[in-house]
């Protein structure tokens, strides 16, 4: 049985100083932002805002300077992320590139790929999406069937990716394609590619979610030609790359802060009412205790990343606990305020109505609760 390690992690002075810069910037930039917009947090898309962050040096912060990065610590980056999320900044456009596509290219990309993409990700001009899930491949990612076949010019791709967040607005997809079928090795025969989304043969169809919004998509590939120079890492060897990428995807503070802007609104309303009941105080306090604990766990994971360790297991613990908390908050808000939330009401109610409807996705995206608990069970030696 493996013991989970959540060593305490003190933020360095550079991170503390940076925090106040970020807060000053956000106070100006987000002045007057409605609660509903803030509630989108890392699903909120604003290309202009992303470019401003790029100018501030707050994207690709840990990357080498030669690729447009700023060679800062993972903990400095962590502080920027948590300030953005807690204030409800619209960080969705650059989020994927900063979080996982950039690091993937740093680890496995060619020099040409790094030169081509990393500086533009860091400047907030080039936005990425993740091409993993398919109609018949969700949690069972190794079953992907979209095929890339070797041709004289490169690779020809046919198939469909599904639930691709932001594909209708992103420039590039990092896609996982099947390039071979290996008997008895379902993790083999998979290869990752950088796919420019304006390549002929790609059809992107936004899919409305249950709230009526569309931020995920179906992406159909019909005889799409991808040059071999766009292949990331080894041919047939993507599984370990994808596993590493998913560790980044699961490790950040967005896995417990999705509803934080609503918590702040709820506390503010109770504060202004001046007459919070004992029950309201207790339930708010319980959320505060859980947030404070999850944040400490999340900082600890960032500390492990900074120290070059692999916190995949600990990240799964934080994401699982975090999603349980996030999903509880919209229902708790309606319960404590004793009113239904209406669309068109503005303010807290509008934000809460949005989050009530979005909460089911929190334990699906980036690895379902069942996948995470399977990973944790493996860590316990149960499988």
């Amino acid at each position: 049985m493996q013991t989970f390690r959540f060593d305490p992690c003190d933020l360095p002075p550079s991170a503390i100083a940076l925090r106040s810069d970020v807060r000053d910037f956000l106070a100006t930039e987000l002045d007057g932002y409605p609660a509903r917009t803030r509630a989108e947090t890392w699903m909120g898309w604003d290309a202009d805002f992303s470019r401003k962050l790029g100018n501030k040096g707050w994207i690709g912060m840990t990357w080498p300077k030669q690729y447009g990065g700023h060679e800062r610590s993972a903990l400095d980056r962590y502080v920027v992320l948590e300030e953005m999320l807690s204030s409800g900044a619209p960080v969705g456009a650059h989020w994927i590139g900063d979080r996982q596509s950039g690091p993937l290219l740093l680890n496995y990309g060619t020099e040409e790929q790094r030169q081509k993409y990393l500086p533009k990700i860091a400047s907030g001009e080039c936005f990425f999406c993740i091409g993993m899930s398919e109609p018949d491949s969700g949690s069972d990612l190794a079953s992907v069937r979209t095929r890339a076949e070797r041709t004289d010019e490169g690779w020809r791709v046919n198939g469909t990716k599904l639930w691709t967040s932001g594909a209708h607005r992103a420039h590039v997809m990092i896609a996982l394609f099947r390039t071979a079928t290996e008997e008895g090795n379902r993790h083999g025969g998979l290869t990752q590619f950088l796919v420019d989304l304006d390549t002929p043969g790609i059809t992107i169809r936004p899919i409305k979610d249950l709230s009526g919004n569309a931020h995920f998509n179906e992406v159909v590939f019909e005889d799409v030609l991808v040059p071999d120079t766009q292949r990331v890492g080894e041919t047939h060897g993507a599984w370990k790359q994808v596993t590493a990428e998913l560790a980044y995807e699961r490790s950040g503070p967005e896995r417990y802060l999705s509803c934080y802007p609503l918590v702040a609104e709820l506390v503010q309303e109770l504060s202004q009412s001046g007459a919070a009941s004992e029950r309201q105080e207790i339930e708010v306090g319980r959320v505060v205790a859980e947030l404070a604990t999850l944040r400490q766990m999340s900082v600890s994971v960032a500390g492990m990343l900074q120290a070059g360790q692999n916190p995949a297991l600990e990240a799964s613990v934080v994401k699982d606990l975090g999603a349980v908390l996030e999903q509880r908050i919209p229902g708790l808000a309606t319960d404590l305020l004793e009113r239904p939330f209406h669309l068109g009401a503005g303010g807290l109610d509008e934000a809460a109505a949005y989050l009530v409807q979005n909460a089911p996705s929190f334990s699906l995206r980036g690895g379902t609760r069942e996948i995470l608990r399977g990973i944790i069970a493996r860590g316990l030696g149960l499988r």
């Binding site: 109770l270 606990l321 608990r373």
Partner: protein
């Protein structure tokens, strides 16, 4: 963990392995004092981990003490070691000498007259009251916390907790043997009692998890170990997330107290909320995994789960501490909340 903390953890594990077989735990539950274990923990200086070197202690930090307080939960130690550690710390903080032997502590109404400091009313629900020769009584003072050492007096209304730890009221008629003032919060009994119980829960949850994982690997049903069933795996994974969360919350509180015992109320409250809530969930999953055998006295899982049930509500349960956090958050307002959380 630093070197001292590793030594403390290893020594505590070794002492409990050597001196705390199941029959000692069982005997303690019917009132037999585990003398050999006590001699071992006191002889190793555990009781004085928080006492300054000048006061004859180890001069350790709260982070060091938490190693031992967690171990008391992890090994289901049937001794007032946590109570003694904190009582000794209170005495030392007030500049008083720490007597040998088990100690307990309680809130009291203290009065000062020409005979010295006396205790006006019985101290209530004092853990291990009948087993300790001395009790440390504390009361708010104008400039901090009044701390008084009394020889134990008349023990009244004896009861036992669900953990089978003795608890009773004490009435003392003689004046205090010594008294002083400590620069500590006026609600120190509740605060540090809550932290002591949170740490115990952290240890007991970790131990319950390990026992449940081991049992699930050994118990065969439908032709395979029940650990191979996804329903079991996911429950144990959930227990593991709660055990990890309480460990982190307790460590966060330890860091805060080490930095400033007068400014750790937020972290201690968060730790106790998390610990008390997780204790309920954790005990439930551990029992569900063990099935009927875990429900027997013979099996012994209950030494840990009864402590979880007992310690959750002691020194303020989840709602008590959550209300403090909630009231503070609401009075400070929404925009200030993130600064409060991120300042830790």
């Amino acid at each position: 963990m630093n070197d001292l903390q590793k030594i403390l953890a290893d020594t505590a594990d070794r002492l409990c392995t050597d001196h705390l077989p199941k029959k000692i735990r069982e005997a303690a539950e019917v009132g037999e004092w585990p003398a050999a274990l006590w001699t071992a923990v006191e002889g190793n200086g555990f009781t004085r981990v928080l006492v300054s070197e000048a006061g004859g202690g180890a001069g350790g930090t709260w982070e060091d003490a938490l190693i031992l307080l967690k171990a008391c939960g992890a090994h289901a130690v049937p001794l007032p070691l946590p109570e003694t550690i904190i009582a000794a710390w209170l005495l030392d903080q007030a500049g008083l000498e720490v007597p040998d032997g088990p100690l307990t502590f309680a809130s009291a109404s203290l009065a000062t007259s020409d005979v010295g400091v006396t205790c006006l009313q019985p101290m209530t629900s004092v853990p291990f009251a009948g087993q300790c020769a001395h009790v440390v009584a504390v009361a708010p003072a104008t400039d901090g916390l009044q701390v008084a050492l009394f020889a134990s007096g008349e023990v009244m209304n004896p009861q036992t907790t669900i953990a089978r730890d003795p608890v009773a009221d004490i009435s003392v008629s003689e004046p205090a043997l010594a008294h002083g003032t400590a620069s500590l919060p006026v609600d120190s009994v509740m605060l540090f009692g809550a932290l002591m119980r949170s740490a115990g829960i952290a240890g007991a949850l970790q131990s319950s998890l390990m026992q449940a994982v081991q049992y699930a690997g050994e118990r065969i049903q439908f032709g395979k170990p029940i650990s191979k069933f996804q329903a079991i795996q996911h429950q144990l994974a959930e227990l593991a997330t709660h055990a990890a969360s309480v460990g982190v919350a307790v460590d966060m509180a330890g860091t805060a107290v080490t930095r400033d015992p007068g400014n750790a109320g937020f972290e201690i409250a968060a730790a106790k909320v998390r610990a008390a809530d997780a204790a309920q969930i954790g005990a439930s999953i551990a029992h569900q995994t063990h099935g009927a055998i875990g429900f027997t006295y013979e099996h012994g899982l209950h030494f840990w789960t009864r402590r979880l049930w007992s310690w959750g509500p002691e020194y303020g349960g989840s709602a008590h501490w959550a209300r403090q956090l909630g009231r503070q958050a609401i009075s400070s307002g929404g925009p200030a909340l993130w600064s409060t959380i991120a300042a830790r």
